[in-house]
């Protein structure tokens, strides 16, 4: 049922529940099963872990040869990987999980060579193909002005 149909039905019948879920029976304390404070806390711990990159740029060591995101670029982890958001032009760059890993390492202060080595170990890729791809990605990000040295 479309949104317009839902509104019409609500006006006609006086029932404003949009779905079975939102009209579900509540327990004595007004909380649906599975929506207790404790279960939300578990989910929140996971979300906060996922979003911890918001401040990684400040925690990373500073020094020669260390790359970082360019000014006005923000990194946000998502379920599908991550996005890079260039806030001035408002361009969004979508990253798959491996590319997100590359940027996460970059934010943590890894050099280009270290990123390749870490990915090789993490993804059991002795051929070094992933390391090459990581280098290519860093080059692309640099070309687009998304990272700075």
């Amino acid at each position: 049922m479309g949104y317009a149909d839902l509104i019409r039905r609500a006006w006609r019948t006086g029932r404003f529940a949009a779905s079975v879920r939102s009209s579900g029976k509540k327990g004595a304390a007004g909380v649906r099963p599975g929506e207790s404070r404790g279960s939300i806390r578990g989910e929140m711990e996971e979300i906060v872990r996922r979003e911890s990159a918001d401040a990684l740029g400040f925690l990373a060591p500073r020094g020669e040869g260390i790359m970082k995101l360019a000014p006005f670029v923000k990194f946000r982890e998502e379920k599908f990987g991550a996005v890079l958001f260039e806030t001035r032009s408002e361009k969004v760059f979508t990253l798959n999980p491996t590319a997100a890993d590359v940027v996460r390492e970059l934010l943590a202060g890894a050099s280009e060579g270290e990123i390749g080595e870490r990915l090789k170990g993490r993804y059991s890729d002795p051929s070094g193909r992933l390391a090459d791809e990581a280098k290519a990605l860093v080059r692309q990000l640099r070309d687009k002005g998304l990272i700075a040295d």
Binding site: R41, E45, V48, S52, A55, F58, T87
Partner: protein, 300 residues
């Protein structure tokens, strides 16, 4: 700010209007005015940014005090303790709409971004609220929440001033500078929560621990195997008896966890000063640097 209060006092009475724009330490206003000057932004515009930041901050404090059921703020009784939460929440709503009105004077982009900043602040608050009682808090996750809860508004200020600046300043990255300063403020406040007396802080001591919130000093205690056990013992004791807060504060001090938190603050100060030095109006840089140092050295 006073003009703002006057404008609504005819609608809600002067006593209530005063709470909407009551000044505190005005750190956000100082940030806007000083960074704005160092970016060559016209003073009238920086003052608008400053007012928008202070009003949005006041809105968040009025709401926070309801969330925390706080009775004191800036050494004075909170509106929720005097008039009840309903009144305080509505005053917060007024403060936020006034902040949006200020942003509107800077253009639709500033409003759009302020809405995003307010969303991030609220999400940070919600995350913090639901992490109460959790001891699964790392330095990264703590900093991430601080970036949203406190950093987002400073970041908005930096981004807006950056848009208003007529000078080349990309290397100074004012948005990141603002965000880092916001995070620093949260870190210093969390240290103060354990180190300052009620009278000096204007709020209850070790309040965060009492409500089950692990903050920066606790993060360091939890991360160290030799301290973690004792911290968890005291943490559990605090759940049974709020008077155990002083034992926890003493442990964090004597175990070096507070010192580690101070060292982490100094690292963030270093990052901020590095960005500050790249601001384009050289004559103003020292003053911004002085402000950052003063903020970090507030008895922590």
């Amino acid at each position: 700010m006073q003009a703002r209060a006057k404008r609504i006092s005819g609608r809600v009475g002067s006593a209530l209007a005063e709470h909407v724009s009551r000044p505190g330490k005005m750190l956000r206003a100082r940030f806007a005015v000083q960074v704005g000057a160092a970016l060559g932004v016209a003073p009238g515009k920086t003052e608008t940014v400053a007012r928008a930041m202070e009003l949005a901050h006041n809105a968040s404090l009025l709401h926070d005090d309801c969330v925390d059921d706080a009775s004191l703020r800036r050494g004075l009784p909170t509106p929720n303790s005097v008039y009840g939460s309903t009144v305080a929440l509505l005053l917060g709503d007024i403060a936020f709409t006034q902040s949006l009105e200020e942003a509107l004077e800077l253009g639709p982009k500033a409003v759009e971004r302020l809405v995003s900043a307010a969303r991030e602040m609220a999400i940070g608050e919600l995350q913090e609220e639901f992490l109460r009682g959790s001891v699964d808090v790392t330095l990264e996750s703590y900093m991430g929440v601080a970036a949203r809860k406190t950093g987002a508004l400073f970041e908005w200020g930096g981004l807006t001033l950056s848009d208003l600046s007529p000078l080349e300043h990309a290397a100074a990255d004012p948005a990141r500078l603002g965000s880092a300063l916001g995070i620093l403020l949260q870190m210093v406040d969390d240290i103060h929560d354990y180190t300052l007396t009620d009278a000096v802080a204007g709020k209850e001591r070790a309040k965060d621990a009492k409500i089950g919130r692990v903050t920066l000093p606790g993060v360091f205690a939890l991360a160290d195997a030799s301290r973690r056990g004792r911290f968890l013992e005291l943490w559990a004791a605090l759940r049974r008896d709020p008077r155990a807060a002083s034992d926890l504060a003493r442990f964090l001090d004597e175990s070096g966890s507070l010192d580690e938190a101070r060292a982490e603050c100094r690292k963030v100060v270093g990052t901020i000063l590095e960005l500050t030095r790249r601001l384009p109006v050289r004559g103003e840089v020292d003053e911004v640097a002085e402000f950052v140092s003063a903020m970090a050295e507030r008895e922590f």
